[in-house]
Symmetry: C2
Subunit: 209 residues, 2 copies
DNA sequence: GTCTATAGTTTGATAGAC
DNA sequence: GTCTATCAAACTATAGAC
């Protein structure tokens, strides 16, 4: 007698099509802006007609929702990699610099993605609980990291977030593709770290004090 | 013989209508979001029909442009008032706190206005040179103020801007209408001021050099 | 699942009478 | 300057054949 197939080829194909749709949407978002593309554009790019997309997503907002979840999941994976890597088991100053660079670089690498993840610029779009989950986890992990290095005041955490967000916004708005604010990142983070009392990275020889 | 009229009543009326249109657009932007209103909405609100607006503005983008210029002019006036007021001829620490609060409060008071002034969220909109002029002047004035208090490094200026912008974004995105980040403003600005070497506001008694 | 065909809406903008 | 009437275009979404 025949055994049941061990792979569900139909499901695999369906999942691949879903990914194709999302990839096309990302590409269009990067090329033209987060919301400057239509379902027709997406369909055309993958050799389909617009109505066919409705077999895979129930609306355009559902596509945004999937993209939102995808972006935050991707970033969550990076964060988890980062905090388990050897160079982040070191001095607090090293850790906070690594976390800051990770967030900055990820944000600046893709304007459309950053807008989707961190600004609410699409009318009517609110992420579903499922898509929002990885974002919540990233914030929790970040706070745990800071707590672990002695930063327990929630206000200090918010100020750190604000410094990062502010530099990112300026980089994207005033010097997209450049690195002027990236060059200021360590200085700004050190300023914050000094203020909250993190030990300096290289305590040369108990300099002054 | 008859003297020419000293007032141009037609011009006054025209200018008043223009202002009515802009006021209606602002109100709608605040109520529904920066771009969630139509020319029909604006017209209805002032008792007109949509096509009549074209006697006063050549397009919807032209309305945005006028709003952009209006917002920055308004802010420029506030800044000029602020820097000539008595309490800002004092210690650098006092001045920088005043400037920071002024910007923060103005930004947070109106989300739609902030988005129009500082983010590029309207597809196809670029401010005209004329509307952009007050924004340029505000930046110039701010830099002059900082220079006057000894902050000459451009990077330090950028970091100050970033801290302000970051706190504003967080306030608007995560606690609109609240004051959680406003409560952190002085702390964050002092952190920056300490780092760039501004004298403390109340130099109690040469504390720890 | 993908297609054709089209509904149903909304919108910025124009033409031309008054 | 304001109106009525209407265009032209764009877009999401649905119905139903294959």
């Amino acid at each position: 007698m025949l055994g049941a197939p061990t792979r569900d080829r139909a499901a695999e194909r369906r999942s691949a099509t879903r990914r194709e749709i999302l990839d096309a949407a990302w590409a269009l978002a990067r090329e033209r802006g987060l919301s400057d593309w239509t379902l027709r554009d997406v369909a055309t790019r993958i050799g389909m007609r617009a109505p066919s997309l409705y077999s895979h997503f129930e609306s355009k907002l559902a596509i945004y929702d999937a993209m939102f979840g995808q972006a935050w999941s991707e970033y969550e994976a990076l964060v988890r990699d980062c905090i388990t890597s050897p160079d982040v088991s070191g001095a607090p100053r090293t850790v906070i610099r690594s976390m800051s660079r990770l967030f900055f670089d990820f944000a600046v690498a893709d304007l459309a993605r950053y807008q989707l993840m961190n600004q609410r610029s699409i009318p009517g779009f609110t992420p579903s609980a499922q898509s929002f989950a990885p974002a919540v986890r990233v914030v929790r992990i970040s706070i745990e990291q800071l707590t672990g290095m002695g930063v327990t005041d929630r206000g200090d955490v918010e100020i750190w977030f604000a410094i990062l967000g502010g530099l990112i916004d300026q980089q994207l708005a005033n010097d997209p593709g450049g690195h002027s604010r990236r060059d200021l990142l360590d200085r700004a983070v050190d300023m914050w770290a000094d203020s909250v009392g993190l030990a300096p990275e290289t305590p040369k020889k108990e300099q002054e004090q």
